[in-house]
Symmetry: C2
Subunit: 227 residues, 2 copies
Protein backbone atom coordinates (compact mmCIF):
# COMPACT_ATOMS: atom_id res chain seq x y z
CA UNK A 1 0.00 0.00 0.00
CA UNK A 2 1.34 3.38 -0.90
CA UNK A 3 2.06 5.46 2.17
CA UNK A 4 0.41 8.82 2.59
CA UNK A 5 2.32 12.01 1.94
CA UNK A 6 2.26 12.75 5.65
CA UNK A 7 3.90 9.42 6.45
CA UNK A 8 6.55 10.05 3.83
CA UNK A 9 7.19 13.49 5.25
CA UNK A 10 7.59 12.13 8.77
CA UNK A 11 9.96 9.54 7.45
CA UNK A 12 11.96 12.23 5.62
CA UNK A 13 12.22 14.25 8.84
CA UNK A 14 13.34 11.20 10.74
CA UNK A 15 15.99 10.27 8.23
CA UNK A 16 17.26 13.84 8.15
CA UNK A 17 17.53 13.87 11.97
CA UNK A 18 19.40 10.57 11.85
CA UNK A 19 21.81 12.11 9.35
CA UNK A 20 22.28 14.99 11.77
CA UNK A 21 23.15 12.58 14.54
CA UNK A 22 25.61 10.78 12.26
CA UNK A 23 27.32 14.10 11.48
CA UNK A 24 27.34 15.14 15.12
CA UNK A 25 28.83 11.80 16.15
CA UNK A 26 31.48 12.08 13.42
CA UNK A 27 32.61 15.46 14.75
CA UNK A 28 32.64 14.25 18.34
CA UNK A 29 34.67 11.18 17.40
CA UNK A 30 37.08 13.11 15.20
CA UNK A 31 37.92 15.55 17.99
CA UNK A 32 38.24 12.68 20.45
CA UNK A 33 40.58 10.88 18.04
CA UNK A 34 42.57 14.07 17.55
CA UNK A 35 43.14 14.93 21.21
CA UNK A 36 43.73 11.30 22.21
CA UNK A 37 46.05 10.71 19.21
CA UNK A 38 43.83 7.75 18.35
CA UNK A 39 44.51 6.89 14.73
CA UNK A 40 42.20 3.87 14.70
CA UNK A 41 39.25 6.06 15.69
CA UNK A 42 40.33 8.64 13.11
CA UNK A 43 40.27 5.98 10.41
CA UNK A 44 36.81 4.94 11.55
CA UNK A 45 35.57 8.53 11.07
CA UNK A 46 37.10 8.69 7.58
CA UNK A 47 35.68 5.30 6.68
CA UNK A 48 32.18 6.06 7.97
CA UNK A 49 31.87 9.36 6.14
CA UNK A 50 30.53 7.48 3.13
CA UNK A 51 27.39 6.63 5.13
CA UNK A 52 26.78 10.33 5.69
CA UNK A 53 27.34 11.04 1.99
CA UNK A 54 25.05 8.18 1.04
CA UNK A 55 22.35 9.45 3.34
CA UNK A 56 22.49 12.87 1.65
CA UNK A 57 22.03 11.24 -1.75
CA UNK A 58 19.11 9.17 -0.37
CA UNK A 59 17.45 12.28 1.02
CA UNK A 60 17.92 14.09 -2.30
CA UNK A 61 16.32 11.22 -4.19
CA UNK A 62 13.45 10.88 -1.76
CA UNK A 63 12.79 14.65 -1.75
CA UNK A 64 12.89 14.73 -5.52
CA UNK A 65 10.39 11.87 -5.78
CA UNK A 66 8.07 13.45 -3.26
CA UNK A 67 8.07 16.73 -5.18
CA UNK A 68 7.65 15.06 -8.56
CA UNK A 69 4.96 12.55 -7.59
CA UNK A 70 3.00 14.35 -4.92
CA UNK A 71 3.49 17.97 -5.98
CA UNK A 72 3.24 19.43 -2.51
CA UNK A 73 2.63 23.13 -2.03
CA UNK A 74 3.27 25.82 0.63
CA UNK A 75 4.33 24.43 4.02
CA UNK A 76 4.66 20.81 2.85
CA UNK A 77 6.89 21.84 -0.03
CA UNK A 78 8.83 24.05 2.33
CA UNK A 79 9.62 21.03 4.51
CA UNK A 80 10.88 19.00 1.59
CA UNK A 81 12.97 21.90 0.29
CA UNK A 82 14.45 22.40 3.76
CA UNK A 83 15.62 18.79 3.89
CA UNK A 84 16.99 19.16 0.37
CA UNK A 85 19.03 22.22 1.28
CA UNK A 86 19.97 21.55 4.91
CA UNK A 87 21.27 18.05 4.16
CA UNK A 88 24.19 19.81 2.42
CA UNK A 89 25.09 21.46 5.71
CA UNK A 90 25.14 18.10 7.48
CA UNK A 91 27.23 16.56 4.72
CA UNK A 92 29.78 19.38 5.05
CA UNK A 93 29.95 18.81 8.79
CA UNK A 94 30.91 15.22 7.99
CA UNK A 95 33.60 16.48 5.58
CA UNK A 96 35.09 18.61 8.32
CA UNK A 97 35.08 15.66 10.72
CA UNK A 98 37.09 13.84 8.04
CA UNK A 99 39.53 16.76 7.82
CA UNK A 100 40.05 16.63 11.59
CA UNK A 101 40.52 12.86 11.42
CA UNK A 102 43.08 13.34 8.62
CA UNK A 103 45.00 15.78 10.82
CA UNK A 104 45.07 13.09 13.53
CA UNK A 105 46.84 10.77 11.13
CA UNK A 106 49.10 13.45 9.63
CA UNK A 107 50.40 14.86 12.91
CA UNK A 108 51.84 11.76 14.44
CA UNK A 109 54.47 11.51 17.09
CA UNK A 110 55.00 15.25 17.18
CA UNK A 111 55.58 17.41 20.20
CA UNK A 112 52.14 18.11 21.67
CA UNK A 113 50.93 21.07 23.69
CA UNK A 114 48.55 19.62 26.30
CA UNK A 115 46.95 22.94 27.33
CA UNK A 116 45.95 23.70 23.75
CA UNK A 117 44.71 20.15 23.18
CA UNK A 118 42.51 20.63 26.24
CA UNK A 119 41.11 23.83 24.66
CA UNK A 120 40.54 22.00 21.36
CA UNK A 121 38.64 19.30 23.26
CA UNK A 122 36.50 21.98 24.94
CA UNK A 123 35.86 23.68 21.62
CA UNK A 124 34.89 20.31 20.16
CA UNK A 125 32.35 19.86 22.98
CA UNK A 126 31.02 23.36 22.32
CA UNK A 127 30.69 22.71 18.56
CA UNK A 128 29.07 19.31 19.01
CA UNK A 129 26.68 20.86 21.54
CA UNK A 130 25.64 23.55 19.05
CA UNK A 131 25.11 20.91 16.35
CA UNK A 132 22.96 18.78 18.67
CA UNK A 133 20.95 21.79 19.84
CA UNK A 134 20.34 22.91 16.25
CA UNK A 135 19.00 19.43 15.45
CA UNK A 136 16.76 19.52 18.51
CA UNK A 137 15.40 22.90 17.38
CA UNK A 138 14.78 21.35 13.96
CA UNK A 139 12.93 18.35 15.41
CA UNK A 140 10.80 20.59 17.63
CA UNK A 141 10.40 23.12 14.80
CA UNK A 142 11.23 25.69 17.46
CA UNK A 143 12.31 29.04 15.96
CA UNK A 144 12.94 30.62 19.34
CA UNK A 145 15.32 27.83 20.31
CA UNK A 146 16.96 28.02 16.88
CA UNK A 147 17.74 31.70 17.40
CA UNK A 148 19.17 31.02 20.87
CA UNK A 149 21.36 28.24 19.50
CA UNK A 150 22.64 30.48 16.71
CA UNK A 151 23.57 33.09 19.32
CA UNK A 152 26.03 30.60 20.86
CA UNK A 153 28.06 30.73 17.67
CA UNK A 154 29.75 33.87 19.03
CA UNK A 155 31.27 31.82 21.90
CA UNK A 156 32.82 29.45 19.40
CA UNK A 157 34.57 32.28 17.64
CA UNK A 158 35.85 33.75 20.93
CA UNK A 159 37.17 30.31 21.95
CA UNK A 160 38.67 29.94 18.48
CA UNK A 161 40.52 33.21 18.69
CA UNK A 162 42.03 32.23 22.05
CA UNK A 163 43.26 28.94 20.60
CA UNK A 164 44.78 30.75 17.63
CA UNK A 165 46.60 33.22 19.85
CA UNK A 166 47.93 30.42 22.07
CA UNK A 167 49.18 28.53 19.00
CA UNK A 168 50.99 31.56 17.61
CA UNK A 169 52.71 32.19 20.98
CA UNK A 170 53.74 28.56 21.34
CA UNK A 171 55.15 28.40 17.82
CA UNK A 172 57.08 31.64 18.36
CA UNK A 173 58.51 30.31 21.61
CA UNK A 174 59.91 27.13 20.12
CA UNK A 175 60.27 25.70 16.63
CA UNK A 176 59.45 22.32 18.19
CA UNK A 177 55.85 23.54 18.50
CA UNK A 178 55.40 24.48 14.84
CA UNK A 179 54.01 21.18 13.57
CA UNK A 180 51.46 20.70 16.30
CA UNK A 181 50.63 24.43 16.62
CA UNK A 182 49.84 24.80 12.91
CA UNK A 183 47.73 21.64 13.06
CA UNK A 184 45.74 22.99 16.03
CA UNK A 185 45.03 26.16 14.06
CA UNK A 186 43.61 24.14 11.16
CA UNK A 187 41.47 21.98 13.45
CA UNK A 188 40.23 25.14 15.16
CA UNK A 189 39.21 26.58 11.79
CA UNK A 190 37.30 23.36 10.96
CA UNK A 191 35.40 23.53 14.26
CA UNK A 192 34.44 27.15 13.58
CA UNK A 193 33.07 26.07 10.21
CA UNK A 194 31.08 23.24 11.81
CA UNK A 195 29.46 25.79 14.07
CA UNK A 196 28.63 27.93 11.02
CA UNK A 197 26.83 24.95 9.46
CA UNK A 198 24.86 24.42 12.68
CA UNK A 199 23.84 28.08 12.46
CA UNK A 200 22.63 27.38 8.92
CA UNK A 201 20.46 24.56 10.29
CA UNK A 202 19.01 27.08 12.74
CA UNK A 203 18.23 29.41 9.85
CA UNK A 204 16.39 26.57 8.13
CA UNK A 205 14.30 25.98 11.27
CA UNK A 206 13.15 29.61 11.13
CA UNK A 207 12.42 29.24 7.42
CA UNK A 208 10.42 26.10 8.09
CA UNK A 209 8.22 27.96 10.54
CA UNK A 210 7.88 31.30 8.85
CA UNK A 211 8.74 30.88 5.18
CA UNK A 212 11.30 33.64 5.62
CA UNK A 213 14.98 33.15 4.98
CA UNK A 214 16.85 34.84 7.81
CA UNK A 215 20.52 35.53 8.52
CA UNK A 216 21.34 34.33 12.03
CA UNK A 217 25.09 34.05 11.61
CA UNK A 218 27.15 36.80 13.12
CA UNK A 219 29.69 38.06 10.68
CA UNK A 220 33.08 38.04 12.30
CA UNK A 221 34.74 40.73 10.29
CA UNK A 222 38.19 41.60 11.53
CA UNK A 223 37.73 44.97 13.16
CA UNK A 224 41.24 46.33 12.98
CA UNK A 225 41.58 49.95 12.01
CA UNK A 226 42.62 51.07 8.61
CA UNK A 227 46.33 51.58 8.21
CA UNK B 1 1.86 38.54 -19.43
CA UNK B 2 3.07 35.59 -17.46
CA UNK B 3 6.27 34.17 -18.83
CA UNK B 4 6.45 30.55 -19.92
CA UNK B 5 8.13 27.95 -17.75
CA UNK B 6 10.92 27.69 -20.27
CA UNK B 7 11.63 31.41 -20.06
CA UNK B 8 11.66 31.20 -16.28
CA UNK B 9 14.04 28.27 -16.40
CA UNK B 10 16.41 30.11 -18.72
CA UNK B 11 16.29 33.08 -16.42
CA UNK B 12 17.05 30.84 -13.43
CA UNK B 13 20.06 29.37 -15.24
CA UNK B 14 21.29 32.82 -16.11
CA UNK B 15 20.97 34.13 -12.57
CA UNK B 16 22.73 31.05 -11.22
CA UNK B 17 25.61 31.57 -13.66
CA UNK B 18 25.83 35.20 -12.65
CA UNK B 19 26.04 34.10 -9.02
CA UNK B 20 28.87 31.78 -10.03
CA UNK B 21 30.72 34.66 -11.62
CA UNK B 22 30.21 36.76 -8.51
CA UNK B 23 31.68 33.96 -6.37
CA UNK B 24 34.57 33.43 -8.77
CA UNK B 25 35.34 37.16 -8.81
CA UNK B 26 35.21 37.29 -5.01
CA UNK B 27 37.81 34.52 -4.72
CA UNK B 28 40.04 36.13 -7.35
CA UNK B 29 39.86 39.50 -5.61
CA UNK B 30 40.37 38.04 -2.14
CA UNK B 31 43.58 36.29 -3.21
CA UNK B 32 44.74 39.42 -5.03
CA UNK B 33 44.04 41.47 -1.90
CA UNK B 34 45.87 38.92 0.23
CA UNK B 35 49.08 38.69 -1.80
CA UNK B 36 49.17 42.45 -2.52
CA UNK B 37 48.36 43.28 1.14
CA UNK B 38 45.52 45.40 -0.18
CA UNK B 39 43.17 45.96 2.73
CA UNK B 40 40.82 48.20 0.75
CA UNK B 41 40.20 45.43 -1.78
CA UNK B 42 39.79 42.94 1.08
CA UNK B 43 37.09 45.14 2.61
CA UNK B 44 35.37 45.33 -0.76
CA UNK B 45 35.21 41.51 -0.90
CA UNK B 46 33.76 41.35 2.63
CA UNK B 47 31.27 44.10 1.87
CA UNK B 48 30.12 42.57 -1.42
CA UNK B 49 29.54 39.11 -0.01
CA UNK B 50 26.00 40.19 0.92
CA UNK B 51 25.16 40.38 -2.79
CA UNK B 52 26.18 36.74 -3.19
CA UNK B 53 24.12 35.76 -0.14
CA UNK B 54 21.17 37.76 -1.43
CA UNK B 55 21.39 36.07 -4.80
CA UNK B 56 21.22 32.65 -3.13
CA UNK B 57 18.06 33.68 -1.29
CA UNK B 58 16.58 35.02 -4.55
CA UNK B 59 17.35 31.75 -6.33
CA UNK B 60 15.80 29.76 -3.48
CA UNK B 61 12.63 31.83 -3.65
CA UNK B 62 12.40 31.65 -7.40
CA UNK B 63 13.03 27.88 -7.44
CA UNK B 64 10.41 27.37 -4.74
CA UNK B 65 7.83 29.40 -6.69
CA UNK B 66 8.56 27.54 -9.89
CA UNK B 67 8.09 24.18 -8.17
CA UNK B 68 4.94 25.27 -6.32
CA UNK B 69 3.22 27.04 -9.19
CA UNK B 70 4.36 25.08 -12.23
CA UNK B 71 4.90 21.63 -10.71
CA UNK B 72 7.61 20.60 -13.13
CA UNK B 73 8.60 16.94 -13.46
CA UNK B 74 11.65 14.89 -14.54
CA UNK B 75 14.35 16.91 -16.30
CA UNK B 76 12.72 20.30 -15.67
CA UNK B 77 12.40 19.58 -11.97
CA UNK B 78 15.96 18.30 -11.96
CA UNK B 79 17.18 21.65 -13.28
CA UNK B 80 15.35 23.59 -10.60
CA UNK B 81 16.58 21.25 -7.86
CA UNK B 82 20.14 21.59 -9.16
CA UNK B 83 19.99 25.37 -8.85
CA UNK B 84 18.49 24.99 -5.38
CA UNK B 85 21.31 22.73 -4.21
CA UNK B 86 24.30 24.05 -6.14
CA UNK B 87 23.65 27.67 -5.12
CA UNK B 88 24.79 26.59 -1.62
CA UNK B 89 28.17 25.65 -3.07
CA UNK B 90 28.53 29.08 -4.67
CA UNK B 91 27.49 30.80 -1.45
CA UNK B 92 30.16 28.86 0.46
CA UNK B 93 32.78 29.89 -2.08
CA UNK B 94 31.83 33.47 -1.27
CA UNK B 95 32.22 32.74 2.45
CA UNK B 96 35.72 31.43 1.86
CA UNK B 97 36.61 34.52 -0.16
CA UNK B 98 35.51 36.50 2.90
CA UNK B 99 37.73 34.35 5.14
CA UNK B 100 40.72 35.07 2.88
CA UNK B 101 39.85 38.77 2.89
CA UNK B 102 39.67 38.70 6.70
CA UNK B 103 43.14 37.15 6.82
CA UNK B 104 44.37 40.07 4.67
CA UNK B 105 43.17 42.47 7.34
CA UNK B 106 44.31 40.36 10.29
CA UNK B 107 47.86 39.76 9.11
CA UNK B 108 49.04 43.31 8.74
CA UNK B 109 52.56 44.60 8.73
CA UNK B 110 54.00 41.17 9.44
CA UNK B 111 57.14 39.63 7.99
CA UNK B 112 56.12 38.20 4.62
CA UNK B 113 57.59 35.28 2.71
CA UNK B 114 57.49 36.32 -0.96
CA UNK B 115 58.09 32.82 -2.42
CA UNK B 116 55.11 31.39 -0.55
CA UNK B 117 52.93 34.36 -1.45
CA UNK B 118 53.80 33.68 -5.08
CA UNK B 119 52.65 30.06 -4.60
CA UNK B 120 49.43 31.25 -2.92
CA UNK B 121 48.80 33.53 -5.91
CA UNK B 122 49.36 30.58 -8.27
CA UNK B 123 47.04 28.39 -6.24
CA UNK B 124 44.46 31.19 -6.30
CA UNK B 125 44.68 31.23 -10.10
CA UNK B 126 44.30 27.47 -10.20
CA UNK B 127 41.26 27.54 -7.89
CA UNK B 128 39.58 30.38 -9.74
CA UNK B 129 40.25 28.54 -13.01
CA UNK B 130 38.55 25.41 -11.71
CA UNK B 131 35.57 27.45 -10.52
CA UNK B 132 35.24 29.16 -13.91
CA UNK B 133 35.59 25.88 -15.78
CA UNK B 134 32.96 24.22 -13.60
CA UNK B 135 30.56 27.06 -14.39
CA UNK B 136 31.30 26.73 -18.10
CA UNK B 137 30.56 22.99 -17.89
CA UNK B 138 27.30 23.89 -16.14
CA UNK B 139 26.30 26.43 -18.80
CA UNK B 140 27.10 23.97 -21.59
CA UNK B 141 25.55 21.10 -19.61
CA UNK B 142 28.68 19.19 -20.56
CA UNK B 143 29.22 16.10 -18.35
CA UNK B 144 32.49 15.20 -20.06
CA UNK B 145 33.95 18.62 -19.38
CA UNK B 146 32.61 18.47 -15.81
CA UNK B 147 34.51 15.23 -15.18
CA UNK B 148 37.71 16.70 -16.66
CA UNK B 149 37.39 19.78 -14.48
CA UNK B 150 36.85 17.66 -11.38
CA UNK B 151 40.03 15.76 -12.21
CA UNK B 152 42.03 18.99 -11.85
CA UNK B 153 41.12 19.05 -8.17
CA UNK B 154 44.04 16.69 -7.53
CA UNK B 155 46.51 19.38 -8.69
CA UNK B 156 45.08 21.78 -6.15
CA UNK B 157 45.76 19.34 -3.35
CA UNK B 158 49.33 18.71 -4.55
CA UNK B 159 49.96 22.45 -4.74
CA UNK B 160 48.36 22.82 -1.32
CA UNK B 161 50.61 20.23 0.25
CA UNK B 162 53.70 21.98 -1.14
CA UNK B 163 52.58 25.28 0.35
CA UNK B 164 51.95 23.64 3.72
CA UNK B 165 55.39 22.03 3.75
CA UNK B 166 57.05 25.33 2.82
CA UNK B 167 55.17 27.11 5.61
CA UNK B 168 56.19 24.56 8.22
CA UNK B 169 59.87 24.83 7.18
CA UNK B 170 59.79 28.63 7.21
CA UNK B 171 58.18 28.74 10.66
CA UNK B 172 60.68 26.23 12.04
CA UNK B 173 63.56 28.29 10.63
CA UNK B 174 62.54 31.53 12.29
CA UNK B 175 59.90 32.58 14.78
CA UNK B 176 59.55 35.78 12.73
CA UNK B 177 57.78 33.65 10.10
CA UNK B 178 55.14 32.20 12.45
CA UNK B 179 52.44 34.82 11.97
CA UNK B 180 52.60 34.89 8.19
CA UNK B 181 53.29 31.15 7.83
CA UNK B 182 50.25 30.14 9.86
CA UNK B 183 48.12 32.59 7.91
CA UNK B 184 49.31 31.11 4.59
CA UNK B 185 48.32 27.66 5.82
CA UNK B 186 44.79 28.84 6.60
CA UNK B 187 44.43 30.58 3.24
CA UNK B 188 45.71 27.44 1.54
CA UNK B 189 43.03 25.39 3.31
CA UNK B 190 40.34 27.85 2.16
CA UNK B 191 41.48 27.53 -1.45
CA UNK B 192 41.39 23.73 -1.24
CA UNK B 193 37.81 23.99 0.01
CA UNK B 194 36.87 26.32 -2.85
CA UNK B 195 38.13 23.73 -5.28
CA UNK B 196 36.01 21.08 -3.48
CA UNK B 197 32.94 23.25 -4.03
CA UNK B 198 33.78 23.59 -7.73
CA UNK B 199 33.97 19.78 -7.86
CA UNK B 200 30.48 19.70 -6.34
CA UNK B 201 29.26 21.96 -9.16
CA UNK B 202 30.75 19.45 -11.60
CA UNK B 203 28.84 16.66 -9.87
CA UNK B 204 25.65 18.67 -10.33
CA UNK B 205 26.35 19.02 -14.04
CA UNK B 206 26.51 15.22 -14.34
CA UNK B 207 23.30 14.93 -12.31
CA UNK B 208 21.62 17.47 -14.58
CA UNK B 209 22.45 15.37 -17.62
CA UNK B 210 21.94 11.90 -16.29
CA UNK B 211 19.77 12.10 -13.18
CA UNK B 212 22.50 10.23 -11.33
CA UNK B 213 24.29 11.65 -8.33
CA UNK B 214 27.98 10.89 -8.75
CA UNK B 215 31.05 11.32 -6.57
CA UNK B 216 33.76 13.09 -8.57
CA UNK B 217 35.80 14.35 -5.67
CA UNK B 218 38.95 12.46 -4.90
CA UNK B 219 39.18 11.69 -1.23
CA UNK B 220 42.52 12.80 0.07
CA UNK B 221 42.89 10.39 2.90
CA UNK B 222 46.24 10.59 4.61
CA UNK B 223 48.02 7.45 3.57
CA UNK B 224 50.52 7.06 6.35
CA UNK B 225 51.01 3.57 7.63
CA UNK B 226 49.50 2.32 10.82
CA UNK B 227 51.72 2.71 13.84
Amino acid sequence: MRSTFEEQLNNLHLRFSEMGMMASEAIMKSVKAYVNHDKALAREVIENDRFINKREVDLEKKSFEMIALQQPVTSDLRMVVTVLKASSDLERMGDHAVSIAQETIRVKGEVRIPEIEKDIADMGDLSTGIVEDSLEAYLKEDSKMAKEVADQDGNIHIEGKQINDACISAMQQSSDNVLSGSSYMLVESYLERVSDYATNICEWVVYLNTGHVVELSQKHVADEDEE
